[in-house]
């Protein structure tokens, strides 16, 4: 059976090629159709093998909209929620990107390498071009100003949360419900908690109550993670690590995931381990700065560097799980 499909696909591909060569100027109209057909097929294969809810359902989203979810959503756009989709084994038709597709969520590319990009602002016509059958929005802010009505005309649109920083566990559960994959979502969560618990014990026996901080270096400025958000939530809550005083101090004054930290404050940072996300790349001048050099973690060689593509700037089941792996590798081995 598989062989037949392969042959058939090869045949259509060749046909398409012939077609393209034959009518140079017309390709703009024919190409997308060809693409969508094959895209829909692969999506179908994925979903059929898993067997989920096969009837239409109506759910109420965070904004109170009644959303009719199609029986088997096959062409999903859920910009910036790709982490959850991947965790639930769903491949979206388009993935979040900025700067005209050149920046994507690198840490998910193992699963999303073949998924085309869509600008993070989700222009209406770009969304339409993908012919989605379900749109999931991260927050109400993305559909304010009547935009909900317009997206909803393209495809049923479900808004996951009303806040910018929704709790990722709740978000995963909600998205599980949307796809009728509640059990799988619960399983992902349970696996994650077990993994975190295990890592917590290993790390605590390795470093005891030494303090840990996560910093992000971007354009010669250091940003420090907040105590209960993003990777801070993982380090201090899930892994139960100790936060240096400066981190707690800054977290109280801010609602942002990452807050700028002045050089004065950096000098006070008594962290014994530092996870550094370096967006400036090698040879960043700030890393030569004496203030940086004087931090205990730097002096003892306990800085663990990650590039900007790593999962440390993100939140979600996959991102957090990857961060646990990184933390284990850095702190235990």
């Amino acid at each position: 059976m598989k062989k037949i499909i392969n042959k058939w696909m090869l045949f259509t591909a060749m046909l398409a090629l012939l077609f393209l060569a034959a009518c140079g100027s017309d390709n703009e109209e024919t190409e997308p159709n060809e693409e969508t057909e094959t895209g829909a097929e692969t999506a179908e294969e994925n979903t059929n093998s898993e067997e989920e809810a096969d009837t239409e359902r109506t759910l109420t989203d965070a904004m109170g909209n009644e959303v009719t979810i199609p029986a088997n959503p096959e062409r999903v756009i859920a910009s910036y929620l790709e982490d959850y989709l991947v965790a639930l084994g769903i491949t979206p038709v388009a993935q979040w990107s900025v700067r005209d597709g050149s920046d994507v969520q690198d840490y998910l590319q193992d699963s999303l390498a073949d998924v085309p990009t869509i600008p993070s602002e989700l222009p209406f016509e770009a969304v339409m071009e993908f012919e989605p059958d379900l749109i999931i929005m991260d927050s109400a802010a993305m559909v304010e100003d009547n935009k909900y009505e317009q997206y909803n005309k393209i495809a049923p649109t479900y808004v996951v949360g009303t806040e910018e920083n929704n709790d990722w566990r709740e978000e995963l559960t909600t998205i599980g419900e949307v796809f009728g994959k509640e059990d799988q979502a619960a399983q992902v969560l349970a696996d994650y908690e077990a993994k975190a618990e295990d890592a917590r014990e290993q790390i605590q026996s390795a470093i005891g109550d030494e303090s840990v901080a996560a910093l992000w270096l971007f354009a010669d400025t250091f940003y420090i993670v907040s105590e209960n958000l993003s990777s801070g939530d993982l380090l201090y809550n899930d892994l139960g690590l100790n936060a240096p005083e400066v981190v707690s101090e800054i977290s109280e004054a801010t609602t942002a995931n990452w807050s700028e930290i002045s050089l004065e404050k950096l000098a006070e940072l008594e962290a014994e381990h530092i996870f550094l996300v370096n967006s400036d790349g090698e040879g960043a001048t700030m890393l030569e700065d004496p203030i940086w050099q004087n931090i205990p973690a730097v002096q003892n060689g306990n800085v663990y560097e990650f590039d900007r593509g790593s999962s440390w700037l993100y939140t979600g089941p996959i991102a957090n799980s990857q961060m646990i792996d990184d933390a284990l590798e850095s702190l235990v081995e």
Binding site: E29, E121, P123, E125, M128, D145, N146, I154, E164
Partner: protein, 343 residues
Amino acid sequence: MSREIVKQRKFIQLAFILLILLFTGMYVSLTHGEFTMTISDVIRTLIGIDQNREHQLVIFEFRLPRVIIALFVGLGLGIAGAVIQALTRNELADPGILGINAGAGVAVVIYMYAVSRMDVSNELLSTFSMPFFGLIGGTITALFIYGFSWTHGRLDSNRLLLVGIAAGSGLGAISLYISLKMNPQDFEAATMWMTGTIWNANWNKIISILPWFCFLLPIMFLRASHLDLFYLGEDTAKNVGVSTEREKSIWLLGSVGLISACVSVSGSIGFIGLLSPHIARSLVGLHHRKVLAVSGLIGMVLVTFGDFIAKTVFSPVELPVGVVIAIIGIPYFIYLLKKKLNK
């Protein structure tokens, strides 16, 4: 007498050329976009033969509202610019540069902030009441800069520009602050109020600004001859028996009303009110009935083409239309400034 006829014919010719330009702009905006549609599809959808749901959605929900908003915003800002230039007798005056746009923007942003706080769910009502708050903010700003540039019993036009620019950047900063406070991650909304964009156009917005245009434009065109007198100087106006203070406040309120309607749907798009009246006067002379009409037409052409460039150059990523207009507008502003200094 025959000179009058020649002039009239020239005016009609000019209007005709501008209309053709305008239709070209509308045509390319409707036919070009991220979603691939053939030109015959577009036309067949427009006249209702094509019943394809997707095509109708693209044309009637996404492209057409946007083109119509562009037309209204261009018309409103072009006319308001011509009025403000005549009232202040300063060809560098522009509602954007003078900070009136920014003033209306601040009021709208404050209103939105209050609404989002009170959790009013009726979106239609809030869309409709936005221009009123814009009017309040714009009027206060206009009176403020007017008051500050009034020295020795007359309007100091250099002072007017300076005060206006200062007020504009101050108010812009306030809008930025409030809109970021509403939603720290949403720079998109913030830039909308700073530079002006119309990418999220919809029919509700069009309906919300329509009454303003229907009400204010006839008043303005009927009174346009008074504007000629203002342009010659307030004393002239007084001498022929125009009650200047009353007349001036009508014009000021009227133009701020138009600006507020535009700002409430598109944010603060600058330079339209500078470019269009200036081009219009160089084309049709000083008769303000014609200047207003031509200036409005030029404004429409500018915004339509500006938005077309904004949405296609970096497609599928969009630029705010205000940025495109500013790229055209700033060199023109410098040219005018230089010309004025050389005089």
